[in-house]
Amino acid sequence: MDTLVDILLLAFIAICAIAILRLRDLFAAVMMFGLFSLIAAGLFTTMHAPDVAFTEAAVGAGISTILILATLSQTARREKSQVGRNVILPLVVVWVTGAALIYGTVDLPVFGDPAAAAHQHVAPYYINESPHQIGIPNMVAAVLASYRAYDTLGEVVVVFAALIGVIALLGLRRRPEGVESGPLTLDHHQVLKVVARLVVPVILLFALYVQFHGEYSPGGGFQAGVLFAAGIILYALVFGLKSARQVIPPRLLGRLPAAGVLIFGGTGLLTMALGGNYLDYNVLAEHPPTAQQIGIIMVEIGVGVTVASVMLLIYFIFAERGMRRRPGNDAGGEAGR
């Protein structure tokens, strides 16, 4: 039964990928990308990896779809057809790469093989030791925030670097005065406003739950940050960017990504100051599991703050750029949707 579900989901993923290749309507392609991520999330769920599935659903299907849509609202809706381009060379490259990858899979262990290298090396140690070394039910959070804290710090810095890249390309300039509603608002929808008022607080509450319950159930800083940003972006879509900008003061929002990285890195410096190694939480308290849990909560807060503020800032930068280029124009944006 599980194999059947796996085969069905993988077939859907392949269909999605082919459909994306064939589509010339970019909006439809973005939606297919969202669907692709959602099916991948389902696949991860069948592999009993709810944390990964959660991230894939929140990031892949949720926020990246929104960000790409925000980007598309400033460019053309349809892909330009390039007549007379060379098709032989790309085809050869793709076929050779694909053949090499398929050849590589021959050496891989069978799916779910308990003798696979990944299940023999550190995984047994994490599974056997984490209950009494760290003592939290969600082992993924223990691995992510404690055993592999350096890697997670690296990921947070990557998210931060992505924001710096976007700022370097598009700038962090303020919206000009007098520009009220842009192409990315739906503020004439009364029904949407009522429902958004009901739903946005629930989303934010759920984000906090995911953040602080991440040690006990699937979730953590990455998922919580994305959910929080999604809640505020929904608010921005329905009530306009101006109101959404007032939720978090722009000066504060601009500093939050760095603050999150600082909380994470600072925890490491704190443990060094207390006499341990970098990100060695055991020195934070008397009892090792308690100390580990304190450390995990601190770094997860850092992750959540950085991810939420980076997602929000990238969205705001894209959306406000659209306003600057087409001030006061909302007819064009509406018709394209």
Partner: protein, 109 residues
């Protein structure tokens, strides 16, 4: 009692599945954009809640049931809103109900 709950739960799950299939057929076969939204929203508002209600009966009085109940509440709020927003955006974008009879014509560009 357990048998009764099981039967009821499966009846709900099968009803939900049937509505899902009907919605899918409608989405493919109905003539214009607005009737298709109607078919799609049928999936949202009947298929998913029926299946979730069936699953609630399966899971009994546990925390899972409470989470599923929240899920139904969330779907009842958001799905019709999404359909409404979609229909309104299409109307706003200049698509008139009953005008287009094939998917190719339905595209505004």
């Amino acid at each position: 009692m357990a048998l009764l709950i099981d039967l009821l739960s499966w009846a709900l799950i099968l009803t939900g599945g049937a509505f899902g299939i009907i919605g899918g057929i409608g989405l493919l076969r109905l003539p214009d954009f607005f009737s298709r939204i109607h078919a799609a929203s049928l999936t949202d508002s009947m298929c998913a809640p029926c299946i979730i209600a069936g699953l609630m009966l399966q899971s009994g009085l546990t925390l899972v049931t409470v989470k599923l109940a929240f899920l139904i509440g969330f779907l009842f709020l958001t799905s019709p809103t999404a359909s409404h927003a979609l229909a309104k955006a299409a109307l706003h974008g200049g698509l008139k109900p009953g005008k287009c009879h094939s998917p190719a014509e339905a595209r505004p560009d």
